[in-house]
Symmetry: C2
Subunit: 109 residues, 2 copies
């Protein structure tokens, strides 16, 4: 996969992940609770069933917005703030009126 294809795919994964309110919510809760929670803590805090939450986490993981780390029989999910910033905010920067034309900020998706 070329570099720009990779970038496109990243943007797509991230924005697709952000499209669902529950997933945005998970990210926010992670953020406000210090960036790290176990799957159980996350699931407990949500209206939907545990499997549903698991799947949302999987989407976020695939988009690179959270990172997973096993600790005993529980799994820690950690927010990747940098990725959120680089991919999502990065795409939004394309619209800044006076876009500094730094190499690699041209027409993404």
């Amino acid at each position: 996969m070329s570099d720009s294809e990779r970038k496109l795919a990243d943007i797509d994964a991230v924005f697709s992940a952000l499209a669902h309110a529950s997933r945005r919510h998970i990210l926010l809760v992670l953020h406000f609770r210090g960036g790290e929670m176990t799957a159980g803590e996350i699931a407990a805090r949500f209206g939907c069933s545990w499997p549903t939450t698991t799947r949302h986490l999987k989407v976020l993981l695939a988009a690179g917005l959270v990172l997973q780390q096993q600790s005993g029989r529980q799994r820690l999910y950690r927010l990747d703030r940098k990725r959120l910033d680089q991919v999502a905010a990065g795409w939004l920067k394309s619209f800044k009126p006076a876009t500094r034309t730094d190499p690699g900020s041209m027409p993404p998706a």
Copy 2:
């Protein structure tokens, strides 16, 4: 609808709209062509059929990301950069490490 409900709905509409590559693409094309194009110019530039493009435009319109203005028998679509910035970038700002706690920047969706 309360103020925060409105905000939530805005965030949802905007991120749902941004979830599809064609719609992101439309916004970018609009941006790079000066922020204003007719429906026909937009449709001509896309792989999918005209009705499909129309529907994408409708989604963007409902999300407030573009504005519509009739001119003769064609319709001009104009990018609303401010809305993109306020809603999308606004939500992303919740994650800034040193969040200035200005009133109204608390836990959205």
